[in-house]
């Protein structure tokens, strides 16, 4: 007669979880009836499987804020991997580049998902520019994103050197070759490494067009990166000076690093609209 109340409880549980019909019809032993319910059975899951989940999972359960660590599904895939591709792609679009890289390092399935070319193309357009939408980078968009980030950093370094007015740093930054050129905003052209370095020395000594104490803001920085050549266009707003400048910098990749080989600055023309009739 002890079995009767247990039978009623078992019946109520079974009715409650219609979607788990297959499981409910398995020949259950009285003790294990509740844990036979699949983890995806919504309303009964917390009651029924909490016990089994705690027992099964060893991964970080104690460190979790709320509930026990999620048990991998029967197929062995984590919940991330169980998402269908279209959802994964959508979810990935919310990540920044560092998070995306971290995710790709977790396991081989996530590596395939997080290295998706489309995801990196979208991230490139979000972080850098909407230009270059029709090009096909030879090593894929993730590599292109990485190369672009590297060049943007190198380019920013150029302006840091100008802010500091450091000639040694500038000498290290340029390629020591006879074809390098520098055209500054005054319109003067310097050809060859030595001439270019002399021009920077003059500028730093006289505190013009840079030198210590002057600050800049770079706007609309656009980079194009090929395997061993890259160029960057930008607008330079100099503090305290009226006219912003256009600047073009060209870099070459030699001996495992980027060198500047060309710099050209010019005064920006005021883009006020001109009336045809005015």
């Amino acid at each position: 007669m002890d079995a009767f109340p247990a039978l009623i409880a078992a019946g109520a549980t079974a009715v409650c979880c219609l979607v788990c019909a297959i499981w409910a019809f398995r020949p259950p032993s009285p003790n294990k009836h509740q844990s036979a319910l699949t983890p995806t059975c919504c309303s009964c899951r917390d009651k029924a499987t909490a016990a089994s989940a705690n027992g099964e999972m060893a991964i970080g359960g104690d460190e979790m804020n709320k509930t026990p660590a999620p048990a991998p599904a029967a197929t062995g895939a984590s919940m991330m991997e169980q998402l269908v591709p279209e959802i994964t792609t959508h979810a990935l679009s919310y990540l920044d580049c560092t998070s995306l890289c971290h995710l790709s390092m977790t396991n081989s399935a996530m590596r395939r998902a997080a290295n998706d070319d489309g995801a990196w193309k979208a991230l490139y357009h979000k972080d850098f520019t909407v230009e270059q939408g029709n090009i096909t980078p030879p090593n894929g968009w993730k590599a292109y994103y990485a190369a672009t980030k590297a060049i943007m950093n190198v380019n920013a370094e150029f302006y840091n050197i100008i802010r500091e007015g450091s000639l040694p740093a500038m000498s290290h930054f340029w390629l020591n070759a006879d074809y390098v050129k520098c055209i500054n905003a005054s319109g003067e052209l310097f050809t060859g490494y030595n001439a270019v370095m002399n021009s920077w020395a003059l500028l730093f000594n006289w505190g013009q067009d840079g030198g210590q104490g002057t600050d800049f803001q770079l706007r609309d920085v656009r980079a194009r990166v090929l395997s061993d050549v890259a160029w960057v266009n930008m607008k330079v707003h100099v503090d305290g000076e009226p006219g912003p400048l256009h600047a073009t910098n060209v870099y070459e990749f030699r001996n495992d690093r980027w060198y500047m080989v060309h710099h050209h600055s010019s005064v920006m023309v005021d883009p006020a609209p001109h009336n045809l009739f005015g």
Partner: protein
Amino acid sequence: MAATTADGSKVVGGGEKSNVDEESKMITLFSSDGERFEVTQEAAAMSQTIHHMMEDGCVDDEGVHLPNVGSSILAMVIEYCNRHVASPDEKEDIRSFDAGFVNVEHHTLFDIIRAANYLDVKELMDLCCQTVADSIKSKSVEEIRELFGIVNDFTPEEEAEIRKENQWAFE
């Protein structure tokens, strides 16, 4: 679409008998496990899937069957939709509601993402995906594995290769 005339009587286009309550224009939804949910049509229309079904006249006398959504998740989605159509302009209230709404374990969050995708509720999808993204940000690789129960299956050679491949992002 049903319309209410001045004296309160209902005019239904097309002469169809749909499961529409005269006063509040309700619609019945059935979860995968057969539970019934009565929601206003306005709230249900936040789901583009259901919205298109209503527009195209595909909703029969019974209501809408959703074989891909279980009852507890459907209840949560309905709660979200109800809240968002009730007072769409109270930004602060909605923000704190949303924050509480996604404060669930990741397993549930992923179930909601799947349901929001199936039902095509864009705002809910955005909210949940952003929550998942935020939980990944500034976590180490090992912490991300723990968070989602991802099992590392790389060989040591692959590990080294991957570290090199991603080095640039951590400089």
